[in-house]
């Protein structure tokens, strides 16, 4: 993991990139994630990891680290993102690091 291991061409990176820019796409993260992942051409391992918000696995596959907490915010909300927030705590738990 780390920015040097980013896989620029990984479909998940494009999905997250666009999800932050497009409210309609974002709405589908909750309601139609499976269809969305297929449309973007995610591989089976990518699909599993995103479905389970397994951000460590996503990082290992080449998702950019900067996108990882954004993924937790896409699922858990972006507001009031302090260290005890749902999004930050989900990140901490999945990455097995302590605040």
């Amino acid at each position: 993991m780390g920015i040097m291991q980013t896989d620029r061409t990984l479909p998940t990176n494009r999905l997250i990139f666009e999800g932050r820019r497009d409210a309609a796409l974002r709405a589908r993260f909750g309601s139609e994630l499976e269809a969305l992942m297929s449309e973007y051409g995610l591989s089976e391992p990518e699909k599993r990891a995103l479905r389970e918000i397994d951000i460590r696995a996503l990082g290992d596959m080449g998702v950019h680290p900067y996108f990882l907490p954004q993924i937790t915010r896409l699922f858990k909300g972006a507001g009031y993102n302090h260290n005890q927030s749902d999004a930050a705590q989900l990140y901490a738990r999945k990455m097995n690091i302590q605040e």
Partner: protein, 280 residues
């Protein structure tokens, strides 16, 4: 010819507006006072326009074609981009752009060896929303935003950022206008969004970095600052201090004042700011 009247660099982390109440009171007070001191330096210089340099955060440039630098040339900007509003907790705002200066920067830099991207539309996140909230809350000074790639390897190396800053300064000073121009780099200091140091701040690195820049010796900066060292202090975020090197290049080799520094774990970022003492 235009005049560069101030050169500033400061942190833009979203916690400063998004969840400042979760920091201890002494951090809150130091941060508010620090941004106020930065605002004072900016306004004392009476700028007609601000040229900003900051991390794009991979918000506008998809990984399929990431420029090192992109100049916003639109007449008008707005922020924060929708999804980032709750995060930075800042109401929608508009700020004027400056098409003529933006275009002059693109053209002048191309002729001096820097091929910059340019854009009519750019989404703003914390990169401009947070510093403008503190420095120009009325959003009444036109902004030429320059978004840069700080986090998708390969990033421009420190020496290249300094060189770009020198060329940017040269192009602004050669721009046929009597405008007073401020340069404002935003980003840093140590933080690691999405990396193993997400909940850490590297105070020693930050203070060393600020002291190094404040000494005003760019040759020494080239020798002592490396991407590797920056990445070791947080590879998803600390590297956006590359924008500060652009500011230093534009300022030239003059000393700077360290205005404030608050290492804030609750804000997940070393928060600080500095201002160069330009020769009169």
């Amino acid at each position: 010819m235009a005049t560069i009247v101030s050169v500033l660099a400061l942190a833009h982390a979203p916690g400063a507006t998004g969840w400042l109440d979760r920091a201890p009171v002494h951090e809150q007070e130091a941060l508010i006072a620090g941004y106020a001191a930065m605002a004072k330096r900016l306004h004392e210089s009476r700028p007609d326009v601000i040229v900003g340099v900051a991390n794009d955060h991979m918000l506008n440039f998809s990984m399929n074609n990431v420029p090192d630098w992109c100049v916003g040339i639109a007449d008008q900007w707005q922020g924060p981009a929708e999804w980032f509003r709750d995060w930075v907790n800042i109401a929608p705002y508009r700020v004027a752009g400056h098409r003529a200066l933006g275009r002059a920067i693109v053209q002048g830099c191309a002729q001096r060896g820097f091929g910059l991207a340019f854009a009519e539309q750019l989404e703003f996140d914390d990169n401009w929303s947070v510093p403008l909230h503190f420095l120009t809350p009325a959003h009444d000074i036109p902004l030429v935003p320059i978004h840069m790639n700080c986090v998708l390897p390969p990033m421009p190396a420190p020496a290249r950022c300094l060189a770009f800053g020198r060329v940017l300064g040269e192009v602004i000073r050669a721009w046929p206008s009597d405008a007073r121009v401020a340069i404002m780099a935003t980003g840093g200091l140590s933080h690691d969004p999405g990396g193993p140091k997400y909940f850490e701040v590297d105070e020693a690195f930050d203070r060393g970095f600020m002291d190094l820049l404040a000494a005003g010796d760019s040759a020494r900066v080239e020798r002592e600052v490396s991407l590797e060292r920056m990445m070791a202090a947080g590879d998803g975020g600390t590297v956006e201090l590359l924008a500060w090197l652009v500011a230093m290049g534009a300022a030239g080799d003059c000393p700077a004042d360290n205005i404030f520094y608050v290492p804030s774990v609750p804000l997940r970022c070393g928060m600080g700011g500095m201002a160069w003492n330009l020769p009169l």
